[in-house]
């Protein structure tokens, strides 16, 4: 749970919007102050950060924004649980791998807050993911590698190595 505050910090510094007094309130909801207003709930805070930041990480159409919302909820409700047990992680990676085989970004054809949030949630898992697993979830790896090229997104963290010498290109599997 403490990790959620970490994701908030990440997003806040990426979007260059300050959050004050991040904490869990009595209902164990993420709470903080954005631009003088107290906001509770992770996805509400993300929405507020996005509005404040004037970034172009939202969608263009309302359908795109609804999809973004869906991915943010998915991230908070499911992806944050990958650290509870390893089965969750492989389930999520499998699911994302399927989706990202056909898409460059989660929503529409551009980077949105959905990608950014999932990047931060998945970050620790990707750091410790064995190379064979990276290869197994090749589409997730490609997507992640593309995102981490942006310095302001990666912040002070070092690149995760997605070696391009994948086994699959050396010895392609025949199906």
């Amino acid at each position: 749970m403490v990790a959620n505050l970490q994701y908030l910090q990440n997003l806040s510094s990426y979007l260059k919007v300050k959050i004050e007094k991040p904490r869990y309130n009595e209902d164990s909801l993420c709470t903080c102050i954005v631009n003088g207003k107290i906001i509770s709930g992770l996805s509400n805070i993300i929405a507020a950060l996005l509005t404040e930041s004037k970034s172009n990480l939202s969608g263009i159409t309302s359908l795109e924004n609804a999809e973004i919302q869906q991915w943010v909820e998915y991230g908070i409700v499911y992806v944050t649980h990958i650290y509870n047990n390893s089965q969750n992680l492989s389930l999520i990676l499998k699911e994302l791998n399927g989706i990202l085989s056909r898409k460059t970004y989660l929503v529409s054809h551009k980077l949105t807050i959905a990608d950014v949030l999932l990047y931060y949630i998945l970050l620790n898992a990707m750091v410790s993911l064995p190379i064979l697993e990276k290869e197994k979830y090749i589409n997730v790896s490609r997507w992640f590698d593309n995102l981490q090229q942006e310095n302001s997104l990666r912040q002070s963290k070092s690149f995760i190595n997605f070696s391009t010498n994948y086994l699959i290109s050396v010895a392609p599997a025949r199906h």
Binding site: T104, Q149, T164, Y166, S169
Partner: protein, 450 residues
């Protein structure tokens, strides 16, 4: 930052490379207005600047000249597109080489016969099969490259992506049907992502991927079986029940496609170098019979069209119109009134004028035995097109040649009686560019076909 003028015909996938690069670099690159393919690029002024006479050609605002789409795209690009270090730039060059040397020949051999740019012939099946196989080989290479990469070079969009995607544009639009492209998930994802970037969209518009593989028409049926137009119609029919609109769209698509291909014909014919991959195309070109003047089958009569045109160009209308009636041979020539069927679709005046001059250009071979004055009445968003024509023969001349059938269906045609007073009035009005259309819109511009 590079700024300047790009000479090209519309919807040229080569010019698109430069225009997309300019979108990314925010370079001020304008497409030359009034460029008429086959005319502008044949003028001495043009060939002095661009000796090959090929388009796209670029004239920078500092007076520098460039030819070749990839070179122009490089020049108008920014640092991100050109590669952030020497190795990235080298890789970009490598992909440009791949796009030109591998993708384009296969793509052209496959798509051009379908678009009618080169003629399909009996031996074509083999060539088609080889083009399909070559394309598959290229896409396989791209696909495995893009398995681990989002873009071709350096994880961000570069000229490599722009050039390769533009060379794949026609194949994706016309022949790479869902079955064929299915194994190339990574290429598909990459391509769809690219053509949906705002910078690509600004130049290419909405790119619709092929749903059913277009087939090349054989021999003489070419004009009838225009598969691409038909295919669009089918999907339109499904999507909207407005069949009449769809039908109109069909002729328009047909027209548009044919227009493109007609414009590309001379250029492509020239550009097809005797590379091995293209021998099918060369053979097709070689087999195309020398075209004869379709008017040859009609009696010549006494009217000298050239002579009248000279007179009309050199003299005031007060002299040339009487001269016309004096020389005109009603036995062997006929006078026609035409009116554009879809005036509600006419927006900007300059676009409507391009519509007229474009039609003239596509009717090039008709010039010898025909003359027209076509006028635009009204202003932006409220205008009509109509004109007076005459040509050899008593029937509508356009069916005489498949080359002439691109535009005429968009117009209503009425044969005029040369002895009627009203005809005299119309001829006078249109030849002297005066008066109004039937709803009272003022004369705006006229174009002479001579």
């Amino acid at each position: 930052m590079a700024a300047g003028t790009l000479y090209t015909y519309p919807d040229n996938f080569r010019a698109a490379k430069a225009l997309i690069a300019a979108q990314y670099a925010k370079a001020n690159v304008k497409v030359a207005p009034n460029f008429v393919f086959g005319e502008t690029n044949k003028t001495p002024e043009f060939t002095k600047k661009f000796p090959s006479g090929k388009v796209p050609a670029f004239e920078a605002s500092n007076g520098k000249y460039l030819q070749d789409s990839n070179a122009i795209a490089y020049y108008v690009a920014n640092e991100q597109l050109r590669g952030k270090n020497e190795y990235d730039t080298a890789q970009i060059l490598q992909w440009i080489g791949f796009a030109e040397g591998e993708i384009l020949p296969a793509g052209c051999a496959w798509v051009f016969p379908i678009l009618g740019i080169i003629k399909n012939n009996a031996g074509a099946q083999e060539a088609f099969q080889r083009a399909k196989d070559d394309m598959r080989a290229s896409l396989t290479i791209l696909n495995s490259h893009l398995l681990t990469r989002t873009y071709l070079v350096g994880e961000r969009i570069t000229l490599a992506d722009i050039v390769v995607a533009c060379n794949l544009l026609n194949p994706y639009k016309y022949v790479l049907d869902p079955d064929y492209r299915k194994p190339f998930t990574n290429v598909n994802r990459w391509f769809v992502t690219l053509v949906n970037q705002p910078e690509f969209k600004a130049v290419l518009g909405e790119v619709v991927l092929c749903t059913k593989q277009a087939q090349a028409a054989t021999g003489e049926q070419e004009a009838e079986n225009y598969n691409i137009g038909d295919k669009d119609t089918n999907s339109l029919d499904r999507n909207s029940k407005r069949t009449s609109k769809a039908k109109r769209k069909k002729t328009r698509n047909k027209r548009r496609n044919r227009r493109n291909l007609k414009k590309e014909t001379p250029k492509k014919a020239k550009e097809l170098e005797p590379a091995e991959e293209l021998d099918a195309a060369d053979a097709a070109l070689a087999e195309e019979p020398k075209s004869k003047d379709p008017f040859d089958s009609l009696p010549k009569g006494t009217f000298n069209v050239d002579d009248f045109k000279r007179f009309y160009s050199n003299e005031e209308e007060s002299k040339s119109i009487p001269y016309f009636w004096e020389k005109f041979d009603p036995q062997n020539y006929s006078i026609w009134y035409c009116e554009y069927k879809y005036p509600q679709e006419l927006a900007k005046v300059f676009m409507s004028c391009n519509l007229i001059t474009g039609m003239f250009q596509r009717l090039d071979k008709m010039r010898k035995q025909a003359f027209a004055s076509v006028c635009l009445f009204g202003e932006d968003n409220n205008s009509t097109i109509s004109g007076i024509w005459f040509w050899r023969g008593q029937e509508l001349a356009f069916p005489l040649s498949p080359d002439w059938q691109i535009d005429y269906e968009s117009y209503d045609w009425k044969k005029l009686d040369p002895t009627d007073e009203n005809t005299k009035k119309l001829v006078e009005q249109y030849f002297s560019w005066t008066g109004t259309d039937k709803d009272g819109r003022k004369f705006n511009q006229g174009k002479i076909f001579k």
